[in-house]
Amino acid sequence: MAMDDVAASWVRFFTFSSVNVAYVAIGCVLLGAAAGMVGCFAFLRKRSLLGDALAHAALPGICVAFLLTGSKDPVVILLGAVASCWIGALTVDWITRCTRCKEDSALGIVLSVFFGVGILLLTHIQHSGNAAQAGLDRFLFGQAAGLVARDVKILAGTAVLLCCVVALLYKEFKVILFDPDFARAAGLPVRRLEIALATVIVLAVGIGLQAVGVVLMAAMLVTPAAAARYWTDRLSAMLALAAVLGGVSGALGAWASYVAARMPTGPWMVVCVTGLFFASFLLAPGRGLAARLLRLRRFRRKTAVENLLRTLYQFGEAGQDWNTPRSLPELLERRGASMRELRRTLARLGRAGLVSEAAPGMFTLTADGAARGARVTRVHRLWEVYLTRKLEIAPDRVHDDAEEIEHVLTPELERRLAETLEYPERDPHGSRIPRAGRISISQGT
């Protein structure tokens, strides 16, 4: 029953069954997308907190605009908010330049002082008995349900404007974010571009205030950017992806506030965007946690496999005989791993055709396995020679380091290592170093 209700509300909402729903949905998607895109710049500038300070600094502007005009017209409110944001931004700049406060303190001061003044003014307005003030407190946490046609038009207009500015100034924004000194030296008007960039961020904050509210707007700027960064290494793709993630959160937040009409929209959007962030953090290929753990596990397996191959190879070295099968206890003694681990590694080697089980519990290297074992042994010993000769480390200290290095050296590095050392015959402990390329171990029948 409850599930049916949810499903029905989905359908009603996303088919835009009433025109009001359409306004709310479109408005939230647009503002989420615009904030997500623009937020990438604040994020990459390492100025994420600036967005937060600016959003909070908008509140006194909203109140003053209302006090002066007595109207809640979106244009009036937006202008008030933008003016107040700008004063906040300039104050941050002034504090960092002219006092001993660092930027983080300046941001903290501006955020709390402006927000405090805003709350003061808001309380004053609410107690003034002005009937038109009803709903002004929505600007704290946002109420998307209150969006009407005119709000959405202004929101859409601003969002389109922001997209155009970003598209036009894409290369300029990119270079001042990456290397502002170089940009100035190359003759770009960095000061003016920085003002343009700040204006873009302020406008993105401004259009989000009605639906998300001053308190949480910063999350809509920064979180989509942080999530998008996990998926891509290209700035253009990052902007697009952050816009999509912001838009999706906007839609979900709007839907939540449609289903539960008295819920503020802002927190819902922030919860959604945070969910998307965690999904990215966990699942993104390459940078995500799951991918990193997977890589780590693969490396551990490779290490276990190669160590065992080297052990088996070394068993055979003494009598130049790689055919005698070795028993589990023998291997266990040399490897110092647990029985379970050893069995699992042996099974893996068996599947790869590197080791064969001659008799139950007795294992021997195949030709491929012997070649791999010889190669790992060779790299291990070469590295030991390198450490003792070039870094003058005592021969009894080099084994552990070589144990790690042998698994990461590429054939190219191996070749250069051998060349640098002038193709040594023996390692520091006197063992012969297997030759490269010519490793073929005769397999008896």
């Binding site: 390492k46 270079v175 990456f178 290397d179 170089f182 940009a183 030296a185 003759g187 960064r229 290209r234």
Partner: protein, 264 residues
């Protein structure tokens, strides 16, 4: 009107730079000759990077002025290419090597304009010159320190100027990169370009450079390497004889601060 033709690549007149009333450069007066590889050497805190930044117009001057080919720096933007220190940027920025080199073309493109095919070709050629063509599409954080430095050099080459100012290009690079940079510097000199390099390795100065500026807040010596790079001058530059000057200015700075805050 034609004075700029004969004007030296860089002239520095009575230049003084101070950070918070602490002098960083003290009355520098030099003219850098054309077509030479010039090293700026000096101890830590001698103002080497500051001098480069002052020449590029990136730092406010307390007094004096700079001329690049006879022009003030802000009017000679396309005449000088700047290679900042590698650590000055965040290499985790979402972009690839070719894109960074392409930034060298931005100064010559009008505002709003996208880089054209020609710009991409130039950027690619510059990557080739530093031996990085194979890494064009590589995310910059995946490059080694030396490779990142070569990308920075390629970006400067893409500006196609006659004057290069490089801040510690040899710092923390591998041997292959060091060789690549030296070859590049000689090529540039062969084309008649002037290259001014902040350098930290005294040993290689006579081998790599034609001229040297020994700096320690003021210009201790300036001239062809065989003259300027004498043990005496080095002793003067590195001898720490300016302790007194810094102490005096430290007092001055404190006095200024305390009088401003009324607790002195």
């Amino acid at each position: 009107m034609d004075s700029s033709v004969a004007a030296p690549p860089v002239e520095v007149h009575d230049l003084t730079v101070a950070y918070h009333h602490r002098p960083a450069l003290w009355d520098i007066d030099l003219a850098f000759p054309a077509g030479k590889l010039i090293a700026i050497v000096g101890p830590n805190g001698a103002g080497k990077s500051t001098l480069i930044k002052a020449i590029m117009g990136l730092t406010p001057l307390a007094s004096g002025y700079v001329r690049i080919f006879g022009q003030p720096p802000e009017r000679a933007r396309n005449a000088a290419a700047y290679v900042p220190q590698r650590e000055s940027v965040d290499w985790d920025f979402p972009t690839n090597a070719l894109d960074v080199v392409l930034m060298g073309r931005y100064g010559q493109l009008p505002l709003f304009a996208r880089p054209r095919r020609r710009d991409r070709e130039i950027a690619m050629q510059c990557l080739e010159k530093v031996g990085m063509a194979d890494y064009a599409r590589r995310q910059i954080s995946q490059l080694s320190g030396g490779q990142q430095q070569r990308v920075f050099l390629a970006r400067a080459l893409a500006q196609q100027t006659r004057l290069y100012l490089m801040d510690e290009p040899f710092a923390g690079v591998d041997a292959a990169t060091e060789q690549a940079i030296v070859t590049l510097l000689r090529d540039l000199r062969g084309q008649g370009c002037t290259v001014i390099v902040v350098h930290h390795d005294l040993q290689s100065v006579p081998e790599y450079f034609d001229w040297a500026l020994l700096l320690n807040l003021r210009a201790v010596a300036f001239g062809p390497v065989e003259e300027a790079f004498s043990p005496e001058n080095l002793q003067n530059a590195y001898g720490g004889r300016l302790n007194l000057l810094s102490d005096v200015h430290e007092r001055l700075r404190r006095a200024e601060w305390s009088s401003r805050h009324g607790d002195g």
